[in-house]
């Protein structure tokens, strides 16, 4: 059985570096033999969260970094993403499924992460996101 892995990295505020980290974390999931469903969920969540931190948090500033901490074992993958932006209130993000927002081209990332993750919690004024997906989680749960 593979021993738990702890991984920490700081990246500059560009989405190319975000994508490279995402690939490293997905490789870790593959090494721990997570299912394709778990990997789909985490890849989607990592893409949304890293893009949010880099683009909306740090506003692509070359003076700011994004810190990523990951802990993975056979039961779960736990990731913390910390940006250096002004933060935000997740409660201010409107429900993108409401009639008045459904045709907006943006604003669905947070909803998707909440659907796919066992833990999706913002702290530190919205600068820190803690994400966790358990192995073989039944999420997302769809109504039909």
């Amino acid at each position: 059985m593979t021993n738990p892995v702890h991984f920490e990295i700081k990246i500059p505020s560009n989405t190319g570096d975000g994508l490279a980290v995402q690939e490293q974390l997905i490789l870790l999931m593959e090494r721990f033999e997570y299912s394709m469903r778990d990997i789909f969920a985490m890849r989607l969540s990592l893409e949304e969260s890293l893009t949010n931190a880099i683009r909306h948090g740090n506003k692509l500033s070359p003076d700011k970094q994004v810190e990523i901490t990951c802990r993975i074992d056979h039961e779960r993958m736990h990731v913390v993403i910390l940006d250096e932006g002004d933060g935000f209130d997740p409660d201010d993000v409107p429900d993108p499924t409401l009639e008045e927002f459904i045709e907006r081209p943006c604003g669905r990332g947070l909803m998707l992460m909440r659907a796919y993750l066992n833990t999706c919690e913002y702290s530190d004024g919205g600068r820190r996101l803690t994400m966790e997906r358990e192995r073989n989680s039944p999420l997302p749960i769809l109504e039909d």
């Binding site: 989405t15 890849r43 081209p105 997302p140």
Partner: protein, 118 residues
């Protein structure tokens, strides 16, 4: 644009434009922006009004990619055209259901069904 740079493959079937998305992962910004431009040019530049987007090769997509699909859907509606999506893998279909975009976009099981929508 050379063929290898393209993100969609175009085919005409009975007056309907079938655009097959060629990328497995529609995730990173540059790719999504380029895909958006290719899709939008089908309606803005070419004036096509019957379009099927074939998702059979797509394994991942992000919310930014959903944004491009919504913009495409709105452009088609403005042009009084019709946009249909087909052959969407289960994981991707879940994304459409979670975001409830299955209520505003026309989604079909396969290309044959999609072609009956025009």
């Amino acid at each position: 644009m050379s063929k290898s740079d393209r993100r969609i493959d175009i085919e005409e079937i009975s007056g309907v434009t079938v655009a097959r998305l060629l990328e497995k992962k529609i995730l990173d910004e540059a790719n999504i922006e380029a895909l958006g431009q290719e899709l939008f040019s089908l309606v803005d530049k070419d004036g096509r009004k019957k379009i099927v987007l074939d998702f059979s090769l797509v394994e991942y997509l992000s919310s930014a990619a959903l944004g491009k699909l919504i913009t495409m859907h709105k452009k088609m509606a403005t042009a009084k055209g019709k946009l249909v999506l087909c052959s969407i893998q289960k994981d991707i279909m879940d994304v459409f259901k979670i975001t409830q975009l299955n209520k505003i976009l026309t989604l079909c099981a396969d290309l044959d069904e999609a072609l009956t929508k025009f």
